[in-house]
């Protein structure tokens, strides 16, 4: 297991370097321009100056090298300094700066993290919480009305674009019923019961929209996995031992069925960090997804590069975690 992990990690490093290069190169080729958003009244000479002040004058290799240093050396050092209070050198390191805000990209990301995790993460958890029981019951009672309904539900959930459900929710619940706010308040802090209720209220709609979408996918998966396992011989053994149906299904079958589901959940987790661009846009959650799309639109290349690369790191990391989870959950898998 240990050497397996090490091997995977050893592969991850060159892979990530390759990815970072691809990302940097592709984005560098992109015809987006940091001064594009400026009003037309700003004369071209000024634009040119602005571009130069953003470091766009240097050759590609130099910029890539600088970015690598900034990302792999300076930012981690800063993080360590922040966490531990130690200091390395003069602390005056060049950081990856966003063109739009002229502030360190990493800080922006840190700022966006909470709402993304709250809303998107919650919806993920919610999706799993809804989906797993549905999947279990659907499989256990295959072809029952519950199963048929569950299938329909998950397929409908999958086939309606979130931008449509999101808007529908707003029209129904914000405009007509006035139950929930249509705009997410990112400055809101939970201090007491009332503010907690507000937080829940403002999270309900985005979480539901995303959660339903996630649930529809996970429940299909769970059902298939349960069905696979319900037909296994060991289920018969468990019944023959006189175990109650509850134990048979929830202990014996569940435990086995969850193995692939959990790994898939882990594999898809980076999507949580990637943010649900569309949902965030609709409810103004302004998480990482919105940061990314804003940066793309605004031609803020350092932000796009950094964010994209962080996603890549997360994907690679969670791939590894999923593999390890598989090994941990399933004693048959021994990687060595």
């Amino acid at each position: 297991m240990l050497t397996y992990t090490l091997r995977r990690l050893a592969f991850a490093v060159p892979a990530l370097l390759a990815i970072s290069f691809i990302i940097f190169a592709i984005l560098d080729l992109a015809p987006s321009d940091p001064t594009a958003q400026l009003p037309l009244t700003i004369p071209p000479e000024v634009r040119e100056k602005i571009r130069l002040s953003l470091g766009l004058g240097e050759p590609f290799a130099v910029r890539y090298w600088k970015w690598l240093i900034q990302f792999f050396v300076n930012e981690p050092l800063n993080l360590i300094e922040q966490w531990t209070g130690w200091s390395f050198g003069d602390g005056d390191r060049l950081r990856v700066l966003s063109w739009q805000t002229r502030s360190p990209v990493v800080d922006l990301i840190a700022q966006r993290m909470p709402q993304t995790l709250w809303v998107v993460g919650m919806s993920y958890v919610l999706g799993a919480l809804i989906a797993i029981p549905i999947g279990v019951i659907s499989a256990y009672r295959q072809y029952s009305w519950f199963d048929q309904f569950g299938t329909l539900f998950s397929m409908v959930g999958f086939s309606i674009p979130t931008f449509f459900t999101g808007l529908l929710f707003i029209v129904i619940f914000s405009v007509n019923l006035e139950w929930f706010p249509s705009i997410y308040d990112t400055t809101h802090e939970v201090t007491d019961w009332e503010s907690f209720v507000f937080q829940i209220k403002q999270m309900i709609m985005p979480t539901m929209v995303l959660g339903l979408y996630n649930a529809s996918q996970i429940s299909r998966f769970m059902r298939a996995s349960m069905l696979d396992n319900l037909g296994q011989d060991y289920v018969r053994t468990a019944r023959a031992k006189g175990m109650t149906e509850k134990v048979v299904v929830l202990v014996h079958v569940m435990r086995n069925s969850l193995i692939p589901v959990v790994t898939v959940l882990a594999l898809n987790l980076p999507q949580v960090f990637g943010g649900a661009i569309i949902t965030e846009q609709i409810f103004k959650v302004n998480g990482l997804g919105q940061l990314l799309i804003g940066a793309i639109e605004g031609g803020d290349i350092p932000t796009v590069q950094t964010l994209t690369f962080i996603f890549a790191v997360l994907i690679v990391l969670f791939n590894l975690i999923a593999d390890l989870l598989y090994g941990i959950l399933d004693p048959r898998i021994r990687y060595d």
Binding site: T3, R7, A10, D336
Partner: protein, 338 residues
């Protein structure tokens, strides 16, 4: 039975001519481990196995699951890479031939597989399956091809009208017949039968075995008959070879092997086979081996059987017993039988 006359005909007696010679054949599957995926060892699936197969005979190959029977068979047919040793078919060394030469040689040697379900492509119909070798090796017209397929179907006792059916529409025995017809398509002289009856019911087994015997007589085939059913091997084979953990432990003409087994493993194996005779069973003294078969990736030193051998002594651990001739045609690899 309509062909009772055929039954009375004498069995094709093996001539002394050697059709296949296997010399020191080893097949090792490398095991890779660690950070750099270095090879740290090998599954010694087949190790230093030598034997001859005479023209027209049936050589039975028996042994427990995982002892390397199939691997031996596949290595002979060049279906798995050979680590060491030589395979000589019809006087030609086929150990290292490649490409088109190998493809041509394949016409001489064919295989019948254990699982009649798995060995037929479920998406091809019977005539497609049987004609595949013809398509690959003969340039026949559509009509000739059809004719040949019908001939083969007749030979194995399949109705011609089945030609357009798919494998899943047949019973196990019929499927095995399709497999046999495919193996016969190119008129091979030599057929490796890899447990052709293991997956079949008793009542069907007999049909297939009879068919194989009859074809052998009619076409003068030579079989390497792999099985773990000692009773069936006794019925089929002219000579029998016993393998244990990748090594050959005993090889003898049928009668000798069953009446005077010399290797302790052969003895244990024979005594473990249950006989459908309650009276004999009640009085039979079994040799019960203890423990499990060790892993071929990490076989015991010296004699591989020593960990389970009731007669093992010190020498067994240090010295590998040679596979030596004990009497005419009887070989064994055991220190006790020196």
């Amino acid at each position: 039975m309509s062909d009772a006359a055929a039954l009375d005909a004498p069995r094709a007696a093996p001539t002394a001519e050697t059709l296949l010679r296997v010399q020191n054949l080893s097949v090792h599957f490398p095991i890779h481990k660690g950070l750099l995926r270095r090879q740290v060892g090998a599954v010694q699936a087949v190790d230093e196995v030598s034997f001859d197969v005479l023209k027209g005979e049936t050589l039975g190959l028996v042994g427990e699951s995982g002892c390397g029977k199939s691997t031996t068979g596949r290595a002979i047919l060049r279906l798995t890479p050979i680590t060491q040793g030589r395979v000589i078919l019809d006087g030609e060394d086929i150990t290292h031939i490649e490409g088109e030469t190998l493809r041509q040689r394949r016409r001489k040697m064919q295989m019948i597989f254990q699982d009649p379900q798995a060995s037929l492509n479920p998406r091809m119909n019977v005539s497609g399956i049987i004609s595949e070798p013809l398509v690959e090796h003969r340039s026949l017209s559509r009509k000739q091809m059809q004719e040949r397929v019908y001939e083969l179907m007749d030979a194995v006792g399949l109705r011609r009208s089945f030609a357009n059916r798919y494998p899943h529409e047949f019973s196990g025995g019929q499927r095995q017949r399709i497999g046999i017809a495919r193996a016969l398509a190119l008129d091979p002289g030599f057929i490796v039968c890899d447990e052709p009856i293991a997956a079949l019911d008793v009542s069907i087994q007999a049909q297939v075995v009879n068919l194989l015997e009859e074809l052998q007589q009619r076409l003068g085939l030579t079989y390497l008959f792999i099985s773990h059913d000692l009773s069936m091997v006794r019925h089929m084979a002219t000579r029998v070879a016993v393998m244990y953990l990748g090594r050959m432990v005993e090889l003898a003409p049928r009668e000798k092997l069953y009446s005077v087994p010399r290797h302790p493993y052969t003895q244990a194996l024979l005594s473990a086979v249950p006989e459908p005779d309650p009276r004999r069973e009640a009085t039979r003294q079994r040799i019960i081996l203890t423990g499990d078969v060790p892993s071929p990736a990490n076989p015991p030193s010296g004699c591989r059987f020593r960990t389970r051998c009731p007669h093992a002594f010190d020498r067994c651990a240090v010295e590998t017993p040679a596979f030596r001739k004990l009497s005419d045609g009887h070989f064994a690899a055991c220190h006790l039988s020196e």
